[in-house]
């Protein structure tokens, strides 16, 4: 066996160890698109309710505007479905292009580790809405989403960890400065996603 073969074997082993434990088919473009959807959704809400959401917070907004909860939940659900759908679609495409199975042990671990914080956050958000604790809504969404990213970063891009911590930080700030909840949401889900997608594309391509 000659030098070149040995070195090639070793680098192949290194990439196998990485590929078998990490799911890196998450597309950077899906981050950018999720951010754009968020900006559109917030724009739609702002147009619907004027600058209420930014100035006085969700509580006044919801109690003043007609059918506010319905519009808010509808917009949030549409945003979630669209972002998730885009993310899954682009991940499948990226995986098949790389000749990798999208459903492998790494993606299973990724799904399991993000599911617990995400579902917990979803439950907290629903309870906050039902009980009328509107000021908890946006902070809870940001914090639990951040925790999910942090948990998932172990089996995916390490940059997800930073994104997760930033989302958690924004969530806590959103709770501290409750009237500006929607602003923090726009920063977290909109601006940070776009920045993150850009970093991933620049660093890893696509």
């Amino acid at each position: 066996m000659n030098q070149g073969d040995l070195l090639k074997d070793l680098s192949h082993i290194r990439s196998l160890m990485e590929k078998s434990t990490k799911f890196i088919s998450i597309s950077g473009l899906s981050g950018i698109l999720a951010g754009v959807y968020t900006l559109l959704a917030v724009g739609f809400l702002a147009q619907k309710f004027g600058d209420y959401g930014f100035r006085t917070g969700l509580r006044e907004w919801i109690s003043d505007a007609e059918n506010a909860v319905g519009i808010l939940v509808g917009t949030a659900a549409a945003l979630l479905l669209l972002s998730l759908g885009t993310g899954v679609f682009l991940a499948l495409k990226k995986a098949s292009k790389a000749g990798q199975a999208a459903w492998n042990p790494a993606s299973r671990i990724l799904l399991a580790s993000v599911a617990v914080p995400l579902l917990t956050g979803g439950a907290v958000a629903v309870m906050a809405l039902v009980k009328g604790h509107y000021e908890v809504l946006i902070p809870a969404v940001l914090v639990f989403y951040g925790l999910a990213l942090y948990a998932g970063s172990r089996v995916s891009f390490k940059e997800l960890r930073v994104l997760g911590i930033l989302q958690i930080g924004l969530g806590l700030l959103a709770y501290g400065y409750a009237p500006f909840g929607l602003l923090f949401f726009t920063l977290g889900f909109g601006v940070l996603h776009i920045l993150y997608g850009g970093v991933i594309i620049k660093k890893y391509g696509a």
């Binding site: 030098q3 196998l16 078998s20 990798q100």
Partner: protein
């Protein structure tokens, strides 16, 4: 040159690749290994068999929805052999320089 760490079982590229996956994962199932390494059923199975015979991997047979699901796990002696073998390869490379 000291070749005491060089391992004949891991001389095969495929077996070395299988062990490298089992070093960093708790366990790995047959089909995922097949896709990851891009091997045929027969080729993968025969290499897994020799690793099992050497005592380097442990076979866990379970059922998921009544379909058999075979998973593989590196044994402590298998992991030690892998590390030793890599050390031997490193020495080979250093010597060639």
């Amino acid at each position: 040159m000291d070749l005491s760490l060089y391992d004949k079982v891991l001389e095969s590229r495929i077996r070395l690749q299988i062990m490298s996956v089992l070093m960093v994962n708790e366990d790995y199932d047959f089909n995922s290994l097949k896709e990851l390494l891009d091997l045929t059923d027969g080729n993968l199975a025969s290499n897994l068999k020799s690793l099992e015979k050497a005592g380097y991997i442990e076979v866990i047979k379970t059922f998921i929805d009544r379909k058999p699901n075979t998973r593989y796990k590196g044994t402590p002696s298998g992991k030690r052999a892998f590390q030793d073998h890599l050390t031997a390869l490193e020495q080979l490379i250093k010597q060639g320089r």
